[in-house]
């Protein structure tokens, strides 16, 4: 099955990492050498050919002037003996005829390059007494004439250079470099493998530790077998496992705590539901009693009065009797109406619908002041506080009603203050404080269901509820969001 590099093991990757750069460098080096050798080869051949041609031209000057073929051949033989790259030498006269030629080697099977160099005589300056314009002075200075125009072309020197010796030399050089490069690559590879092995072991340790962590074993131990960054990596893994372990323990304890809290909340909710059911039954019972005790007797009285009227002959009744019965029915109906209104009022504060939250609150505080002579209740609604409406207003009203009832029942306070304000935009805060004896908040909340109900009511409307209590009194605070 063919594996992609992505699937390679660490060992394979490290070996590739160690070997690949060496191989790439080797390939680049060999390519560069071949390119350079090709360029150098032509330059070397050109240089050698021109040099040999110039040398042949210079050394053949006399042979061409004197047409001494023996001298020319001797010159060419000597030149060929000193340079193994020469394949053929020839000297031509000014007419292009071959004066002498020398075949050094067989050029078959190798590429050859031909070079040519002019053979010219450099005039020698002296007084030859041959001028018709110059003085014929015997001591006139002499020397080589510098003017190239005065050089006389005598012929040409032809040199044929074979590429084989150059190629051999270049190949030898390339092979030498290749051998050295291969040795260097081998050493580099071995060195890379050693390094890879040194890297692999710590990485394997780290891998093992990571796998343990993945399996939930946070207390891993990694022996530090490497220095430097790999050692730091190993240490980091160990530190990380320790941190994960402690985090895990913290989370476990947190979950346990939250579970307990949830169980407690569920218990409270059960109590609240039971209390609510009890309250509901109690309220039904009270309403039934109210109807039975207050409405039914009045209705029976009205029935009896109406029956008396219906049973007697209207002509037999006197006007006083009819008036008296009508008066009884009227007063009894008034009584029924008053009782019904009281019952309704106890079910829902009517004043809330007619006067609004603030007035209803003021009436509530007034009623408590009437009921409780030893405690002074007061209420302050701060200016700019949004007016609460609807169910939120009812809830706030009930929260305050519960708070004031608790003060009356438990606090033994002499002063109580209800403050309604808007400490935060979009929220209405209700604060009830008293100077009572206070209570243990945790215990109080655990046993009583009133405060639980308050908390649940506030939470139901997205508000918040807090309670502080001490020897100096109690502060109840509830915040309600307002749209």
């Amino acid at each position: 099955m063919r594996m992609s590099p992505r699937d390679w093991s660490i060992r394979s990757l490290l070996i590739a990492l160690a070997i690949a750069p060496v191989l790439v460098m080797l390939a680049a080096l060999v390519s560069a050498m071949f390119l350079s050798a090709q360029k150098d080869l032509k330059a070397d051949i050109d240089e050698k050919g021109q040099l040999v041609a110039a040398a042949l031209a210079e050394s053949s000057q006399y042979g061409v002037i004197s047409e001494n073929r023996n001298v020319l051949e001797q010159t060419m033989r000597m030149l060929a003996a000193t340079d193994k790259t020469v394949v053929r030498l020839a000297v031509l006269n000014i007419d292009g005829e071959i004066l002498a030629s020398f075949q050094v080697a067989d050029s078959a099977g190798q590429k050859t390059f031909e070079f040519s160099h002019p053979i010219s005589s450099q005039p020698v300056e002296a007084n030859y007494f041959d001028s018709t314009t110059q003085l014929h002075m015997p001591q006139q200075s002499s020397g080589v004439v510098k003017d190239k125009k005065q050089e006389v072309l005598l012929g040409r020197a032809i040199v044929v250079i074979g590429a084989a010796p150059f190629l051999t030399a270049k190949h030898r050089a390339i092979y030498s470099v290749l051998l050295l490069a291969s040795v260097a690559a081998f050493c580099g590879g071995v060195f890379g493998l050693v390094l890879a092995k040194r890297i692999e072991q710590p990485l394997r340790e780290v891998m093992r530790a990571m796998m343990q962590i993945r399996q939930g074993q946070y207390n891993v131990e990694v022996s530090r077998v490497a220095g430097g960054e790999l050692g730091e990596l190993q240490e980091a893994v160990v530190d990380m496992s320790r941190a994960l372990s402690s985090q895990w323990q913290w989370l476990e304890s947190k979950v346990e705590q939250r579970t307990k809290e949830l169980q407690k909340a569920n218990l409270e909710k059960g109590k609240l539901i039971a209390h609510s059911n009890m309250m509901l039954e109690s309220e039904r019972k009270r309403i039934a009693l109210d109807i039975h005790d207050q409405l039914n007797p009045s209705l029976i009285a009205i029935r009896l009065a109406a029956s008396a009227l219906a049973a007697n002959d209207p002509k037999s009744l006197r006007a006083e009797e009819v008036k008296k019965l009508a008066g009884d029915i009227f007063s009894t109906a008034d009584e029924i109406y008053a009782n019904a209104r009281r019952i309704v009022k106890s079910l829902r504060p009517e004043i809330m619908d007619t006067l609004g939250f603030n007035k209803a609150l003021a009436e509530l505080v007034r009623q408590f002041n009437v009921m409780q002579k030893h405690c002074c209740f007061d209420v302050v609604v701060m200016e700019g506080t949004p007016n609460l409406n609807g169910d939120v207003a009812i809830t706030a009203y009930r929260v305050i009603q519960e708070g004031l009832s608790n003060i009356v029942k438990h606090a033994q306070a002499t002063e109580a203050m209800v403050t309604v304000d808007s400490a935060e935009a979009g929220k209405v805060r209700v604060v009830i404080r008293d100077n009572g004896k206070g209570f243990d908040v945790n215990r109080g909340r655990g046993e009583g269901v009133g405060l639980i109900g308050v908390n649940e009511r506030v939470a139901h409307y997205g508000g918040s509820f807090s309670l502080k209590s001490g020897p100096a009194g109690t502060i109840l605070c509830a915040e309600f969001p307002v749209s």
Binding site: A126, F129, L135, M137, Q139
Partner: protein
């Protein structure tokens, strides 16, 4: 132009104080009939004065009644009798063409060029022309050759049509100095270097001024060819020795000045003496070439020659 420095009409001239009494007394003492006592020696300079200045100074120290100029008109416009000095081929041709009134002495003109110029001059004018050739005589050269080798040797000489007439003179000189001469005529289109192959047995080559044989194009080949054979070239000018020939007899400026001074003493108005090779000469040796050819040069060779009297 002599001494011209900006203005065409101005010619720098050098006037030597006339001492005609000395010249006249010399002439009288020699009893030469028709000599030119008191004649002013007037030199016509062509080309650079700097080249001939050593001669002017050397001759001026001997001949006090001496005047030189690069302007011919200025020269002939001078009063009194005169002997004219032609310094170089151009001056000689100019003086001959100008038909100046007085004898002409040619200096620094080689024999071949001299004969060429004279051959084209008026016949009656030729009688009044003489000269000292630029090169030394074959006699001097072969005397030097013998002195160098100290034995009877054979010497080769290449001649062309223009120098063929010198063969007898050279042969007589060779005979005089116990030298075997091998002369070879070089045809017009022949390669002088190749012609040297005929001299495979000679010990030295005598070079004579011949433009067809010894020139700037052939000298290198000639030198190389003779060197390969172990032959030395006896040149005809000191500059050729510097260029690579073995040795030469040559007339230095002082030597020429002394000889010209003597000619001035004897020259007559009607007829000038025959042109002649330098009487005074000395030797120039290329010691490096001699060492390369394995030739030992004795001290006597270096002092060979004929020096003029000091004045």
């Amino acid at each position: 132009m002599l001494g011209k420095t900006g203005s065409k009409s101005v010619h720098l001239r050098r006037r030597i104080v006339t001492q005609s009494i000395v010249v006249g007394a010399f002439c009288s003492a020699k009893g030469s009939k028709g000599a030119l006592p008191g004649a002013e020696v007037r030199a016509l300079v062509s080309g650079s004065t700097e080249l001939v200045r050593p001669f002017i100074e050397a001759f001026g120290s001997r001949q006090k009644n001496f005047y030189y100029d690069s302007n011919l008109r200025s020269l002939v416009a001078r009063r009194g009798r005169a002997i004219y000095l032609a310094l170089g081929p151009v001056s000689l041709s100019t003086l001959l063409e100008a038909d100046v009134d007085g004898p002409i002495i040619s200096v620094f003109v080689a024999s071949q060029a001299y004969k060429q110029i004279i051959s084209s001059a008026k016949v009656n004018r030729v009688k009044q022309v003489t000269g000292v050739f630029a090169e030394c005589s074959p006699d001097s050269q072969l005397e030097l050759t013998y002195a160098i080798f100290q034995r009877r040797i054979s010497v080769g000489v290449l001649l062309s049509s223009s120098t063929a007439g010198s063969e007898d003179l050279i042969r007589r000189a060779a005979q005089k100095h116990n030298i075997e001469l091998v002369a070879h005529m070089v045809s017009a289109n022949a390669n002088p270097v190749r012609e040297l192959n005929r001299f495979s047995d000679v010990t030295a080559i005598l070079a004579v001024p011949d433009a067809a044989i010894f020139n700037s194009q052939t000298l290198r080949g000639l030198l190389e060819s003779t060197y390969r054979r172990g032959q030395g070239i006896i040149g005809f000018s000191a500059s050729m020795v510097m260029a690579g020939t073995l040795a030469t007899a040559y007339a230095a400026v002082d030597d020429v000045a002394a000889q010209v001074d003597e000619i001035v003493q004897f020259i007559s108005r009607e007829r000038a003496p025959e042109s002649q090779y330098p009487y005074y000469w000395r030797v120039e040796i290329n010691k490096q070439v001699a060492r390369s050819l394995n030739i030992m040069i004795s001290d006597g060779v270096l002092t060979l020659g004929n020096r003029p009297r000091a004045r």
